[in-house]
Amino acid sequence: MIRFILRRILEAVPVMLIIITGTFFMQRFVPGGPFTAERAVTPEVQRNLDAYYHLSDPLWKQYVDYLRDLTPKAFHPSALEQGLDLKAAFGIDFRPSFKYPNRTVNEIIAEKLPVSLELGFFSLSVALVLGLTLGVFAAVKRNTWIDYLCSGIAMTGICVPTFVLGPLLVLSFAIHLHWFSASGWYVPADAVLPCLTLGSVYAAYIARLTRGGLLEVLGQDYIRTARAKGASEARIVFRHALRGGLLPVVSFLGPATAGILTGSFVIETIFQIPGLGREFVNSATNRDYTMVLGTVILYAALIIVMNLVVDVIQVWLNPKLKFE
């Protein structure tokens, strides 16, 4: 397994390099730059700004310089205990942001990523708890009113987009009932509405996948054998069927985690959460070159890691699969 993981990590290096190169050059070919604003700056000011940010260097030189700053130069993982400072821990320097001149991209990531991860983690928990419960009930009580109810809820969850569900929840629980704040990220209770909103969409998918996976497994011979041997229904579902039934859910979790992390933009905007998803999307509209690169690199790395984790879990769950 160690060899499998190491090989995957080595394979990730060229992938990252392609992503970095592609992003670096593509954003430069997009019209407009970080200092394009409604109010024109004078040509002299523009020249000085370009010099300040080394934008007047030839593009290849900027690329080489950037790669040099980016290459890990140190290994002090213990520095991560003080905060997510990738520069202190690994010598990875994402440089200052263009949009926020007195902040570095490292610093913004260190501040915002934990918020997005927290949001993503709780949303995923909501999604798993809700989705698995609904899915298991629907599968076990197949074609009864319970199944129809659970499937109906799941279907609704898929159909209602987050930008509708979010404001609806705010309207009911913040403005009318005053149970929660309408937006913000200050006290733990502030996480309830956004995590419910973000989690419910994924819960819906998980419920449908669980139901489908479980139904397939419940029809198999070894389940009939278990039943014939007098195993209780709960034992059959949780001990024998669920492991195989969860396979589709697990393969969905890889992209879902990536989706929750990068797709939290809408939720972070609706609820004014200071997460990285907002920075990720806004950096593109701001042409904040360093921020675009920093977030793309980070998310690419996260997605690669998540897919690896999912592959490892799948082999655990399914003895037919092997590390290769």
């Binding site: 109010r39 700056v41 000011v45 000085n48 934990p114 609706i270 042409r287 655990w316």
Partner: protein, 542 residues
Amino acid sequence: MIRRFAPAAALFALVFFPSGCARRNAPSAPAGAAPSRQVLRAGNGTEPQDLDPQAVTGVPEGRILTSLFEGLVDEDPRDLQPGPGLAESWDISPDGLVYTFHLRDRLRWSNGDPITADDFISSYRRMLTPAFAAPDAYKLYNYVVGADEYYHGGLADFSRVGFRAVDSRTLQVTLKSPTPFLLKLIASSYSWYAVPVKVIARYGSLDRKNTAWTRAGNLVGNGPFVLKEWRQNQIIAVERNPFYWDAANVKLDRIEFYATEDLAAEEHMFRAGQLDVTYMLPLAKIDVYRREHPDELHIDPWLGLYYYRCNVDRPPLNDKRVRRALALAIDRESLVKDVLRGGETPAYAVSNPSNAGYTPRAQLSGGVAEAKRLLAEAGYPGGRGLPPVEILYNTLESHRQIAETIQQMWLKNLGVAATLRNEEWKVYLDAERTGNYQIARAGWIADFADPHAFLENWVAGNGNNETHWSSPEYDRLFHAALTARTEADRYEDYQKMDAILVDECPVIPIYYYTRVYARSQRVKGWWANPRDEHPWKYVYLE
């Protein structure tokens, strides 16, 4: 099975490890703080780029900076006239070239250090240092003698730039040419603030923007409040500055500025009681507020113009008759009343009528009949034979609605079938800069309450012109106005400039902006004015 899951769970936890150790702090002041403390919670639009007055240019920055710093001269929120700020008085030489500011006695920075005239000079020196690349440096070097040369590297000796400390409390500014609106400019522009250069130097080189001096705890200012807390894209909190010269008259204890870039979310916060005043209000909510919360809805006139600029290099817009016809064929009353609904004023001239006692006399007149006649005269009767016309706008619901409405009006009134082109913000700006457009939507908010702040845009070579239009007579009047003997003479020149713009129509004025926002009735000491300036020292809660 649980045991088999454990390593996976551990891996999962590892990936999410930071979430475990990053507990968010409780807010320093919970929403709805104790009534004894005066805490104002204000929506601030977007997150400020920085709080260094010399490194930023935007409006969201300005709202916070006015709480942390004060200018030499300050604007009266009631009539926008420049009045004493850090300077208690000033003299202007008879030729209008030398301004001598007398600083108040015993002025102090928020760390207790005295403020002297030298602080202003070292601040302006930093602002004009080419390597620092201050985006608004032109607000100094356009006016002050020698500053231009210093900024462009032709002059190395800053003592030859027109700033001089006569003594510790007297600052003298020498101008290149008479600038009748200089006081208004200084009162409204944070580029003219003094910054604590000695403090800044402690955090790094003076010509670097990425130093930590603007962080909470480090930032030293000279305004009514000091920075207490700054959580990016969340909250910026300021509290009373005990060293402020007029601290006794500051009423609020604390102001919390919230980054509220999503208008709908901001409105939710207001209704949930988390905000006392919003930055803006979504268009769709205006009618609801009119009906249900009329006392909280505020629609203030604003010194801004929404207009279409014509690229006069592109046929058929190279013909002023076509431009005028297009300008006349827009039913602005209907546009404002039926589409926008935010109390905007139809614009028939470029200069804003609520502008420091100046109202443009020349107005677009003649209506559709005149428009048809002009188009026929230009050789396109009923729009026949007219080369295609395209309207460029950036992505925003209201820009699309306005463009579609105008497209319909041109089709119905003139037989002109315009096409629409929608671009993302920076692509749209780039198209305007490079002249890759025919007609483009544009907006302008005046920097200070003076017709100059609108009319300077269409002088040849101005970076904000972008129409490729110019007129020697217009440019002559512009320079004549600067040396006019009296305010009345100066305004007379502006009248002629407005008349030229209405006649030639390089731009098609559409409507004058309004500021639409929600404000709790508890908020007092807040005056509606066309600059949307609400000095925090006067504001209080009831």
